[in-house]
């Protein structure tokens, strides 16, 4: 009994499992005072998931059972550290999402291993790459200053995000990956040396997006992430890219040497690569396309050198697993930042957006006991408030519907597609008709989400009405809640008739949901 108490003073190890296009990976780690996250166990096995998907859009039974076997071998390691499988953070990334039978696949894995799997949306994958930076003990030093483009090349999708001073300004996922390219080459019978042409179209598009989303002439550093790139860096440097010292660092490669390596890989057969580098077959297959993409990106951005991060996606998962509470605030910061960047892209009225956001959040906080929503919903409301008017960029007429479309197609790093959709629908209801089931975007939501939409949109409509003329002339507002009324009290001037009318119109949903009419009282 005594020893048990002693054991509890030590932080508990945590485990994360991630499934990529070519591998299934387990990482067990613990957080230590002064040392950060220490990896205790890593196990990785290659699976032909991506191969399956590019062929048939389904994960075949053999692959599913192979994954189950691998998970069983992982569970032995979990039991050594007394980690219950139910507590493992397990995610499936982009590759699985593309499978028609993804739900059945994850169900099978969860049932067989008792590890609860969840599927990540494209934006969330990028978020974990971003989160991985927090695994670097002295991250403030290099990667938290200035701008850096982070590119992750996966088997089926690739991600590009831009960070400046530690904040994410832009994040985008592309449906291009090493396996896809490989498959296209095979089906169209292209020679290995034509790989560059295949890749160039994509990287040009990515570079263009990047340039559109960052300040002109801003110098770009390219940080590459992904296991094939880590492997390549290890090949070019005598020391393997691992170990605690290496985890805090990156490998700097000149574009010229990356080019030489890419050429060598292109000219080698898969068999030669597996033999000479002792890598698995699936890995050898995608090494060439990955290197070519990285190289092409570097060339398109006219860089002389690139950086290969030793961090991986699972490092990001680990940061989340050991550091849960801190996570929410970081996430919020990034999502809000991206929302503002998006607003700027669509030439939004920043002051109006800020005013509406302030009012909306104040109301949200005031009504907490009534709406029973979470912090996460508060974040969604905040983003909806920032972006509610961006549809004006397309056309002022029916702009709420344009907002809906634009938001839906924006990637908010760390948020799921469902959450992004929720934001879009809330923003859509900032004006005109109230939510109704004849609206397809509303009707398509599950019941709980429809309730959330109504609760948040009701607040947003009131907030928008209170800055009807977009001049913030009402200043800060105070609110008083009475049993059947919400009294808004501006601190500068009496509300104009335009605001009164707008509130009368837009307060409809609020009255319906919260049972209170909205009034504006004169300031004292």
């Amino acid at each position: 009994m005594k020893t048990k108490n002693k054991v509890r003073t030590v932080s508990k190890p945590v485990a994360v499992v991630d499934i990529g296009a070519t591998f299934l990976r387990l990482t067990i780690a613990e957080k230590r005072a002064g040392q950060g996250i220490c990896v205790l166990e890593r196990a990785e096995q290659s699976v032909a998931l991506g191969r399956n998907l590019v062929k048939s859009r389904r994960i075949d039974n053999a692959t599913i059972e192979q994954c189950v076997l691998i998970l069983r071998s992982f569970s032995k390691l979990l039991s050594e550290f007394a980690i219950p499988p139910e507590s493992v953070k397990a995610v499936a990334s982009a590759a699985v999402r593309l499978a028609e039978n993804s739900d059945a696949f994850l169900d099978r894995l969860s049932i067989a291993s008792r590890i609860p799997f969840r599927m990540l949306d494209p934006g969330q994958v990028g978020y974990y790459y971003h989160l991985a930076f927090r695994a670097i003990p002295d991250r403030k030093a290099v990667w938290e200053k200035g701008g850096v483009a982070v590119m992750e090349i996966g088997g089926l999708t690739s991600g590009l995000l831009y960070r400046r001073d530690g904040d994410i300004l832009f994040s985008q996922t592309y449906n291009v990956g090493s396996l896809r390219i490989r498959q296209q080459m095979e089906t169209s019978g292209l020679a290995p040396l034509q790989l560059d042409d295949m890749v160039e179209g994509w990287t040009r598009e990515m570079a263009l997006h990047l340039r559109q989303n960052i300040a002109k002439d801003e110098p770009v550093r390219l940080l590459l992430m992904g296991r094939e790139l880590r492997f390549a860096a290890a090949q070019l440097r005598s020391k393997p890219a691992t170990g605690p010292a290496a985890a805090s660092a990156v490998t700097t490669l000149s574009v010229a040497e990356l080019g030489r390596l890419a050429l060598h890989v292109k000219n080698s057969s898969v068999e030669e690569l597996t033999r000479s580098w002792q890598i698995s077959y699936p890995d050898a297959e995608i090494l060439g396309p990955t290197l070519c993409m990285a190289l092409s990106m570097a060339q398109t951005l006219s860089l002389k050198e690139v950086f290969v991060s030793h961090l991986s996606f699972s490092d990001g998962l680990l940061v989340e697993a050991v550091d849960d509470p801190a996570w929410t605030t970081t996430l919020m910061r990034h999502v809000v930042r991206i929302a503002r960047e998006t607003g700027e892209k669509y030439l939004y009225d920043a002051r109006h957006a800020a005013q509406v956001t302030d009012i909306a959040l104040a109301l949200f906080d005031l009504l907490r006991s009534e709406h029973d929503c979470t912090e996460r919903h508060r974040l969604l409301l905040e983003v909806a408030a920032i972006l509610h008017d961006i549809g004006v960029f397309v056309n002022a007429r029916g702009h709420h519907k344009h907002s809906l479309y634009l938001i839906r197609n924006t990637e908010f790093i760390g948020l799921s597609l469902a959450e992004t959709n929720l934001i879009a629908v809330v923003a859509r209801y900032h004006r005109k008709t109230m939510p109704q089931l004849s609206h397809i975007e509303y009707a398509g939501l599950p019941h709980e989400s429809r309730l959330i939409v109504s609760k948040l949109a009701a607040i947003l409509r009131v907030a928008d009405a209170l800055d009807r003329v977009h001049d913030q002339s009402l200043g800060r507002l105070r609110f008083e809640i009475e049993s059947d009324a919400l009294i808004c009290i501006p601190d500068r001037r009496v509300a104009s008739s335009a605001e009164q009318v707008a509130l009368g119109e837009k307060g409809d949903l609020f009255e319906l949901i919260y049972g209170r009419r909205c009034y504006v009282r004169s300031p004292r």
């Binding site: 990896v39 166990e41 890593r42 032995k76 390691l77 050594e80």
Partner: protein, 706 residues
Amino acid sequence: MKKSILSPRFFNRETSWLAFNQRVLDAGCDTHLPLLERLKFLAITASNLDEFFMVRVGGLKLLVAGQIRRRDLTGLTPRQQLEQVTRRVRQMVAEQYTLYRTLVFELAVKGFHLPESLAGLSAEQQAWVARDFDEHIFPLLSPVALAGERPYRPAGLLLHCAVRLAPTQEGGAHRFALVPLGPLVPRFLRAPHPTGAVFVPVEQLVAQQIGRFFGGEQVLECVPFRMTRNADIELREDLSPDLLAGMQELLEDRRETACIRLEIHRSASRLLVNALASHLQVDLSDLYPVDGPIELRALLPLAQAEGFDALRDAPWLPVPSPAVNIKEPLFPQIAERDILLLHPYEAFDPVIRFLEEAADDPSVLAIKQVLYRTARDSAIIEALVRAALAGKHVTVLIELRARFDEARNIGQARRLEQAGAQVVYGVRGLKTHAKICLVVRRERQGIVRYVHFGTGNYNERTALLYSDVGLFTCAPDFGADASDFFNAVTGASEPQALRRLAMAPFTLRTALLRLITDETARAANREKAQIILKMNALTDETLIEALYAASRAGVRVRLNIRGTCCLRPGVNGLSEHIEVVSIIDRFLEHARLFSFYNGGHERLFISSADGMQRNLDKRVELMVPILCPVARSRLQKILKTYFKDTVQAHRLLPDGTYRRCRPSGKTPPCRSQRVLFDEAQTASTRLTQTKPTRLEPYRRNQPLRG
């Protein structure tokens, strides 16, 4: 110069091995050694030769039978090699028996009698051994007919007596029978002698008493013989879904494989020899008539016979390592600093204690261990079983294919499984030869991994005879690598890039070659460069070529290769900077130690791998850097000692022969094993002298230790 370039770049592997065995035989001829030590060396050469026959000669025979003409490094076909080997072996066998007779004569003078026949025994002695035979041996014997409905298949390397019976009727055929002398039958019967003792070979008694088995029949002759079967049959893993079952089949098969050597006493009649040869399907070219007792390896226990200490060296018993305080638990000591052990000068106990403490320690979560060859009643296995029963997660990779230890390993694998350990029977297509043990422990500051790496097996018996190095460490990189290693060999993960260790068949070869080429580059750059390798065998072509290149660049290459060495040293323009020595002494040199000068920042390694292709490509092996300063200076000192030896060292000459080193007049002679033994003794004595300063009573709830 011209001549050396024309001569082959390599030595033949088999010839080089035979030269090694010859060095051991030469040790048996060394008149400076006590008689029973010489007898021991003789027995070792015989045991070595048995294994050589089963594996190497067996392998060559299979190649010849399969008409495979692939040439070896020296350009010889399998048939040519086989002829060369056979010629050399016959010569060696003759020398073995000459030495045997010399030793018999000299031992008799000292009261240790090995009679040639029972005739030399007194009536009293005869009665003594006859009684012994009646009581203990006769019940164990049962003759079988040589031919019949169910023909008897003699087991390999088991001594038999072949019996020829007179025909039952005139003009009829002779009849033949065999008496197997099974493993329970003692090989020698000891009887008192006025000057000491007499050791009677059991086959002489069988021959004397043979009539009792064949009541009323006329026994014409009774002659001992032994056959050797080809053991170079590998498990066909693709045909055997269950490795455990496959191994058992292999053992059955080995009983049945072709006979590649038939040793029979010279006195056997042609009639008997022909009958045996045809029944056992032995080619007469594989017949080895011997003039003395068959199976000289049976002399090994005699060398330990009680009461003849004067005929032996005083034993060199292991002493406790000064680096380990036996009164304190081991884990905190390892946490303080790495511990390097040199066996058998220093006791193997800490390795067993490591496991025993882990088994009983509530903070220990998991124990992982690779076992290749274990002792019969292995304390290591006991500790693992106990740990598994105590609920620890015990993972053991037990190499079922460790040659000649298969049967024992199968039994131990079963025991461990029954105790609840996870047992892995090796890795498909590769033998797991790495010596590693990992203990995962939960401590106040988090998970800590303790690792033991070794150059020798986890076998407390051989640890008394083999000279090996072991390292305890809990450095995080080593622990993490150890975890990755076990995840790879147990199939939980594909091999990951390791931080500190190099692992065959993945990175060890490249790492070793890179270390060699780094030194070569330094030498080419006119920096000081030196490579020191101590291993049991060096036969890998690429490795040897890399060493040649290093020599040509000016690297000083010092090799301590106990056995086979295919590298030809001292040839101008090829290997003039390479020296090769081999040490044959009381302990079997077994440690694999590598050192690279590296511009003064010496890189030191211990390893489980020899410089052979099979180690680098077909086995799972480890190469472990030594980083802790204390361990490093110790290892450097050990390595230096080996190259100072002027007593038991043999230098390999460019022509392939070995010349025994002699002390030069100026420096006192240096026998490396003696030096290492003395150093261990001194360090240990110093320790025991400084230890007891006060008396410490045991209190309640205090663990009893020390």
